[in-house]
Subunit: 304 residues, 2 copies
């Protein structure tokens, strides 16, 4: 069973009272109602050899990355981080100081985003390093922004630029778009949002799937990171499929998109990259004007 | 740095506003104040080869155990489970069906305890199976029961019986004492409580350390599990040091202990095993009346 199918299967196994669990598995965070108010909860892990290579990246970068991935999930819901806990499986042969460095990495970025690291669990084992963080967040006053609200005619926008993150240290050092997401939710009628972790095309597919819509992207509009131009034979394909960008992808009505693009509420670039369509297709308009199915995988991946 | 020293070091790195985080790292769960009310949050993991041997125990047992360990942490605080999330690192060579069986194990016991599994993260990797669960809980109306409230003269009691859990399937199939803990907190003035995961002697040491007290246990009073009598050369040492019992150890004033022992509010046996003393020593009174330092390790351990 592929990961996507497995998540769908899990969703099919879950039957929650929407008054208690308005959003269950399948979005960036679950939404639960606790003493009458909504809270958001999610978990995300970093596995050595998949999301990081500790021998190359070092323990502090691993700690930073796993916490930042969780903060990026919080950003995807336009929520405010509150507190987190971490589980660590530490190899018995770890160099002295790795545990402290890992903790320092977790704390550095948690502190920077006002997220309190309130507990954890650590065990040593014969396996590679595995670190899981779970995070609690408060919704924005506008409520959490889900993946599922995009409507035909909505404009698709992104923050930042895409591609080649894994080939550089960007996948370790990215800044989760927490404040940007809150500013977007506060100022504009966001219909749907997701953070781009697995690739712009794949994560657009998730947003479209959750919303029951499709999308067309304008190839010429995709903001390609300079690293992808410098390092990748097909920079557009890299931007669409590399992943690990941790930028925001969101859908909003055209008037809101126009207002946003005319006066973005922050310094990170915002780019209009396409629009939501009623058919479930996901297509790419190439520079020559032809449309093709949006590629979701490429040859740019190393391990992920 | 040993695990205990590392946890102490982490506690020394944490400086929380007690109005926001009344209980940080170092207890069974953290206590955080969210929209004016207390919530409890913890995480606990199961690593293949340490806490389980998946080849022997099967994926469903692994799922059950990791969720049950979290529920036992909830019991230790006399709290009520609310919801949980799970991170899974699944070996690429896992047999077909392991992911579903793991999920079934998580759900079976979560459902039995009214805990909602609202989200998760799964990745496949070259490492052994690792599963981390994080759990949210509501405190009892009496508030969470901490490790740190034991006072000299308090009586130490336990639920159930101890020893040889790892040699049987008890460490996989135990029933977290959630309802028993709530009944204890509702009916008696519990000063301190912990669940026994690493061994009665070690976990008593944690309770004493957090409370700034010591303890004397009566060797003849320790409830030794029949499995330990049957399988261990020194059943008392096994009961004190094997761990994986997931029973409750708690301290309460003598009149409350007398009332509890006269009329326990549930069917699980409750036993008076010793008392809290002012000096930091932890001692064992042997059947011959002599006192010795409480052993915290033994030869009974296999992998843990």
């Amino acid at each position: 069973m592929r990961e996507r199918d497995f998540i769908d299967w899990i969703c099919s196994q879950s039957d929650f009272d929407p008054a208690i669990v308005p959003v269950g598995p399948g979005d960036d965070m679950a939404v639960v109602v606790c003493n009458g108010t909504k809270l958001l909860l999610a978990t995300d892990q970093v596995l050595d050899g998949v999301h990081v290579v500790i021998a190359d990246h070092g323990a502090e970068s691993v700690g930073r990355k796993v916490m930042a991935r969780n903060l990026s999930d919080v950003a995807a819901m336009a929520a405010t981080p509150f507190c987190a806990v971490a589980s660590v499986g530490l190899p018995t042969q770890s160099p002295q100081g790795d545990a402290e460095a890992l903790y320092a990495g977790l704390r550095t970025i948690a502190d920077a985003y006002g997220c309190l690291l309130v507990g954890g669990d650590m065990g040593s084992w014969e396996g590679p390093l595995c670190v899981s963080v779970s995070i609690l967040a408060h919704p924005a006053s506008t409520g959490p922004i889900l993946r599922s609200g995009a409507r035909p005619g909505d404009i698709l926008c992104v923050t930042g630029a895409f591609g080649a993150s894994w080939r550089t240290r960007r996948h370790l050092e990215f800044a989760p778009r927490v404040e940007e997401a809150k500013a977007l939710a506060a100022g504009f009628d966001l219909h749907a949002m997701i953070d781009v972790s697995d690739g712009l095309a794949i994560d657009l597919g998730r947003l479209c799937g959750a919303s029951g819509v499709g999308a067309n992207l304008e190839g010429e509009a995709i903001p390609i990171h300079p690293d992808a131009h410098a390092m990748c034979a097909d920079p557009l394909l890299a931007a669409l499929t590399d992943g690990e960008d941790y930028e925001l992808l969101f859908a909003l009505p055209e008037p809101d998109a126009d207002a946003l693009l005319a006066r973005p509420p922050f310094d990170i670039p915002v780019t209009r990259i396409g629009e939501i369509i009623a058919s479930p297709d996901r297509t790419l308009t190439k520079p020559d004007g032809s449309r093709s199915p949006l590629p979701t995988g490429g040859w740019e991946h190393e391990t992920r």
